[in-house]
């Protein structure tokens, strides 16, 4: 269970949000909504522990994530708006190596299934530089198929650049994760029907 209390974020001299209290229970998808520049990405980076909040704490299973550190990151899968895909590696190498570094199962069969689930079965050995923007996004998301052991997924605009089939594949993946009592936090501007229990939090511009 992920929760925050009195979270505040100051970027430069702009207050993005203050006194933010969130709670994501197992099996729940938290949809963070808000206009551009309302602090969605900053919030997700704080929840990941990439950024320190100006005030307040983020707790995972009741403990401050800044104390847990590696123990927290072990159970976290993050897809930011940067794909984390290397141009000079093939799609399969990208998924394999990044899953292996994260400590997730990364055998050939798992990687192949992950890519196939996102319609990349024929592009396994193609270098990522030869893939389109949407296909690269799929490679980044295919990693999540290896991350079923990580209970918390934090996804920043995961649906951008995806076509309808890509969106369906990702929704299904998120649905399966929620069904095994995982937690998901995501932002999106698209009107995607999300499976399972979805709670919504709206970030207002202050």
């Amino acid at each position: 269970m992920l929760e925050t209390s009195d979270l505040e974020c100051l970027r430069g001299d702009r207050l993005l949000f203050t006194r933010l209290a969130l709670r994501v229970d197992p099996g729940v998808c938290l949809h963070v909504a808000g206009e551009n520049g309302s602090g969605k990405t900053s919030l997700l980076r704080i929840l990941c522990g990439l950024m320190a909040p100006t005030a307040g704490v983020v707790r995972w299973q009741g403990e401050d994530i800044r104390r847990l550190r590696e123990a927290y990151w072990e159970g976290l899968a993050y897809v930011g708006h940067l794909n984390g895909v290397k141009d000079d590696l093939s799609a399969a190498e990208n998924v394999h190596i990044s899953a292996a570094i994260a400590g997730w199962p990364a055998d050939v069969a798992t990687v192949r299934a992950a890519l196939a689930a996102f319609g990349l079965a024929d592009f396994e050995d193609r270098p990522a530089r030869a893939l389109s923007q949407g296909q690269r996004r799929r490679v980044a998301l295919a990693r999540l198929r290896c991350a079923s052991a990580a209970p918390l997924w934090i996804l920043d605009e995961p649906f951008t650049a995806l076509d309808t089939r890509g969106v369906a594949a990702l929704s299904e993946l998120i649905g399966a994760h929620l069904a095994r009592q995982g937690c998901v936090v995501l932002t999106t501007h698209q009107d995607v029907p999300l499976p399972g229990r979805v709670e919504r939090v709206e970030l207002e511009r202050l």
Binding site: L82, G84, V85
Partner: protein, 222 residues
């Protein structure tokens, strides 16, 4: 942990093989800078023998700094660095893997290239061997200290010049002991003390620098 660090090294080596031009360019830069010295100083053989260790070391230092921008900037731009920061492994270990991969594609080839360059300067065999040994002991510290600068200046405009200004002063002791080792042999003394000091510097930085690099990366990514 070892498996994950091994994967980090493997990825960086794989990328270095696929982007061979970057690696070759650094090496060529090293060779060109060293070959410029005789052209500037003139062909007097004894002068060349005297300046050879210093010239090779300065060129190695510059080449290693030139290659630093490859270390974290690309990972930073494509988001893989973010992912490395969010793994269950201690970041210092991962960073050590990245620096090791960097040394394998810069420090090690530079050390190997010093052999023909020593011949070019007509260094006697004992001095040439000492020069190569000194590079082998000292270049890991160059990569490690350079990585601190690269991590600190990540994402800054004009970071390249700033890295040089930050890192070059830190490299002065390595330069002194590195070139000094060869001079000692030329003067009929043993280079052991110099080489041991260089190795000690490399070992000490390999223990301490990863923590500094890890902290700098976390600050740069905030």
């Amino acid at each position: 942990m070892i498996a994950a660090v091994g994967q980090v090294v493997r990825r960086d080596l794989l990328l270095a093989v696929r982007q061979r031009a970057d690696v070759v360019n650094t090496l060529l830069f090293f060779v060109v800078v060293v070959t410029l010295a005789p052209l500037g100083v003139g062909p007097e053989i004894n002068t060349l023998r005297t300046i050879a260790p210093g010239v090779v070391w300065v060129a190695a230092l510059l080449a290693s700094i030139l290659s630093l921008n490859r270390l974290f900037a690309l990972d930073f731009a494509d988001g893989t660095l973010e992912q490395l920061l969010l793994t269950r492994e201690p970041l210092a270990a991962i960073v050590l893997g990245k620096v090791a991969a960097h040394w394998l594609v810069t420090g090690l080839p530079i050390t190997a290239m010093a052999v023909p360059l020593a011949v070019m300067f007509d260094l006697p065999r004992a001095q040439a061997a000492t020069l190569v040994l000194a590079l082998l002991c000292g270049t890991p510290a160059l990569s490690l200290l350079g990585a601190i600068g690269a991590a600190l200046t990540l994402g800054l405009r004009g970071g390249g010049v700033l890295v040089s200004l930050l890192v070059l002063p830190l490299n002065v002791p390595i330069l002194i002991f590195g070139a000094g080792a060869v001079e000692a042999v030329a003067g009929g003394l043993s280079a052991q003390a110099h080489l041991l000091l260089l190795a000690a510097l490399s070992l000490a930085t390999s223990v301490l620098a990863p923590w500094a690099i890890a902290a700098a990366l976390r600050i740069s990514l905030e």
